[in-house]
């Protein structure tokens, strides 16, 4: 095997660059998609809390006390309340009423509170997405808690003098216990690693990874398949170019384009969303390994496919599970352990983890070295695999 010649690689790279440059539609895609995706994803995930959930609130009790509760809960932005009259039936038909939840204050509720036997409030929840229901229930519970505390304060304030005098007869330590019990107990959260507590800081590697994986894999996957389809591959193979020179020459222009895209996304997220980047040289290394790994994957798909259509289909089949299972947009910990083993196979998983370890945790190399090694192994495996498949074309 001869050592690859720089001149030969440059010829292939320049030709490949011309293909990208001449295909104006793809070029447009390359220029428009990255900033578009960054803006869309950045804003889409800015706030992960539920807001404006359409819900019904039916007050069948109609007392001063229920009015106070309604005043509290109607201020909660989680809900967008509709409040029909007390005679409204059918509250459990959520879809018919076009709401996600229905809260009912049954008649006699105030009475039950006064009698020391509080009735529960019926709450109907749409659990179809398994997410909204628990969030809404939590919000209702929280509002009830607030209401309860205020009612308690009201009762305490309106206690007659003699009752207070009576209370003073209790031993001091018991009285203090009561005071504690009457105050809400809190955990005081100190959020670390994301000082501004913004999702965009978390999701930036996801956006970079998503766009780059999408573009590099699909574009790269088409390069060899296109030559096979148009017959130029054989013309290429009868030249004195070696396989290594063809592969490296084809990778280079796409690598250059991808590096520009990463830079564009990082500049935009820093300028528009104020995301800060830490240890740029380490981030650059992580990006480079990830890019090479994605390009290698594209190349592998390309050498494997007979036509461009097949190449695109294979790319999509590969990319879909990656987006769902790679932890690009949500913590991997949401997935069951067995699935997480599959996630570990995707370059995007390791890219996002390493990127976050550096940029959010400011962690040392020992934390992310395994991810870098996995990415590097991915580069080797895909490139060697592609070269092997290319050899088979010649038979």
């Amino acid at each position: 095997m001869k050592w690859p010649s720089l001149g030969a690689i440059a010829s292939v790279a320049y030709k490949e660059f011309l293909h990208i440059y001449r295909d104006r539609r793809v070029l447009l895609l390359l220029i428009i998609l990255p900033p578009f995706f960054t803006l869309i994803f950045g804003h889409a995930f800015e706030n992960t809390q539920l807001t404006g959930v359409p819900a019904l609130l039916i007050d069948r009790d109609q007392t001063e006390r229920t009015a106070r509760f309604i005043e509290i809960i109607s201020k909660d932005k989680t809900f967008h309340w509709r409040m029909p009259g007390p005679d409204f039936q059918n509250e459990s038909d959520l879809i018919g009423n076009r709401v996600k939840a229905a809260l009912v204050i049954p008649s006699g509720w105030t009475d039950s509170l006064n009698k020391g036997d509080p009735k529960p409030l019926p709450l109907y929840l749409d659990d179809s997405d398994t997410n909204t229901a628990s969030a809404v229930e939590g919000a209702v519970q929280q509002n009830l808690g607030t209401f309860q505390a205020k009612e308690r304060d009201l009762i305490v304030e309106s206690l007659p003098e003699d009752v207070i005098e009576l209370g003073k007869k209790l031993p001091v330590d018991i009285r203090k216990q009561f005071v504690s019990l009457m105050t809400a107990w809190n955990a005081e959260g100190k959020n670390l690693y994301n000082p501004k507590s913004r999702f965009i800081d978390y999701v930036v590697p996801g956006v970079i990874g998503l766009i780059l994986q999408l573009l590099t894999v699909t574009l790269m996957a088409c390069t060899i398949a296109r030559e096979r389809e148009s017959g130029t591959l054989y013309q290429l193979l009868v030249t004195s170019l070696q396989r290594g020179e063809i592969v490296i020459g084809k990778i280079l222009p796409y690598l250059a384009v991808s590096i520009c895209l990463v830079a564009a996304i990082m500049v935009l997220s820093s300028w528009h969303f104020g995301v800060a980047f830490y240890q740029l040289h380490v981030l650059a290394l992580i990006c480079l390994l990830f890019l090479l790994c994605s390009l290698g994957l594209g190349l592998l798909i390309s050498a494997f496919s007979r036509t461009q259509t097949q190449a695109i289909q294979f790319s999509v089949f590969f990319l879909l599970p990656v987006f769902v299972l790679s932890g690009a947009f949500a913590p991997l910990e949401q997935l069951p352990q067995a699935i997480r083993y599959i996630s570990e196979l995707f370059p995007l998983t390791h890219f996002c983890r390493a990127f976050r370890l550096v940029n959010m945790y400011h962690a040392g190399a020992s934390f992310y070295i395994v991810d870098l090694i996995v990415l590097f192994a991915g580069v080797l495996i895909t490139f060697i695999g592609a070269a092997f498949l290319l050899k088979r074309i010649e038979q």
Partner: protein, 316 residues
């Protein structure tokens, strides 16, 4: 005579049960324009692809300038240029960019490349189209460009797979003139074709049928391989006569040529003697008869149809 440039030694290629090329042995001397003839699917393209190192032989071997076309393919590739049947240059690249790319791919030194491209542009008559995308060229110009790109590393041997298929007569002529120029420069040319008039322009012709070589000789020698004389008759009406004559058991074949019918028979003299006595078709008039020299088309028809007794057995 010079050492042969190309040597095929029992070269075979099978795809499973399909024997595309069987036991093909032949040699081609330098400076030859070798025309490789045969019907569609006879194995012409497969042979050429084996010689170009694009597919490996399943039996026998072949050498180009003493280097094995498969084992030494990386080395052999600098020695030939290949123009495949299908236009296989980059359509989105301009004429000049295609030239430059293939120059680079063949490792032509940069300082030589510009001069060589200039010369090839003149040779292929594409000087005015330098900045036109290859995909926008007409069929003939595309083919000239493809030939030009195959010449960029100045190889001593050229493979052309049906270089004139689908081209108009003017462009066919232009391509052949280019081939003569190249031959005149001492290059060896291996060309497949369907056109019999083109076969006549080769210095040597090989017939291949179902993967087997049937004959290899100069066009003159091939034509003289006709053992029998060729009878041509004028009849009226023409088409009914053609259909009826095909049914005559003594006739191996009938072909229409410039308004006359050419008859292939093992003993044409006996047949015409019979007909002179009694013409068997009352509704068809026999207007005239003559003996003609066989051309390449007759030879090709006789070989590919396997007409028994019409051809002398030639030694391969």
């Amino acid at each position: 005579m010079n050492e042969p440039v190309i040597v095929l030694d029992h070269l075979s290629k099978s795809f499973g049960d399909v024997h595309a090329v069987q036991d093909l042995s032949l040699t081609i001397a330098p400076g030859t324009i070798f025309g490789f003839l045969g019907p569609n699917g006879a194995g012409k393209t497969t042979t050429m692809r084996m010689l170009c190192g694009l597919t490996h032989p399943t039996g026998g071997h072949a050498t180009i300038a003493d280097a094995d076309v498969w084992k030494d393919r990386q080395r052999v590739r600098t020695k030939f240029g290949y123009v495949p049947q299908r236009f296989s240059l980059y359509r989105d690249l301009t004429v000049l960019e295609n030239f430059r790319f293939f120059g680079g791919a063949y490792g032509v030194p940069a300082r030589e490349l510009e001069q060589r491209i200039e010369r090839l542009l003149r040779l292929s008559d594409l000087e005015e189209k330098v900045n036109t995308a290859a995909g926008s060229l007409s069929g003939g110009m595309r083919q000239l460009l493809a030939i030009g790109c195959a010449l960029v590393h100045d190889p001593p041997l050229l493979f052309f797979d049906e270089p004139t298929a689908g081209l108009d007569p003017v462009h066919r002529q232009q391509i052949w003139n280019l081939l003569y120029d190249l031959s005149n420069e001492g290059k060896t040319i291996f060309v497949t074709t369907h056109y019999m008039d083109e076969a006549e322009r080769c210095t040597e012709v090989g017939f291949i049928e179902s993967g087997r070589l049937l004959a290899k000789a100069s066009p003159r020698a091939l034509k003289s391989s006709f053992r029998v004389r060729l009878l041509e008759i004028d009849v009226e009406p023409l088409m009914p006569a053609l259909v009826r004559l095909r049914g005559v058991p003594e006739l191996l074949g009938v072909s229409l040529r410039s308004g006359s019918l050419r008859l292939y028979a093992q003993e044409p003299e006996k047949l015409i003697a019979q007909w002179r006595q009694q013409w068997p078709f009352p509704d068809i008039r026999l207007l005239g008869e003559r003996w003609v020299e066989p051309d390449m088309e007759d030879v090709f028809t006789a070989y590919s149809q396997g007409y028994d007794g019409v051809l002398k057995k030639t030694e391969l």
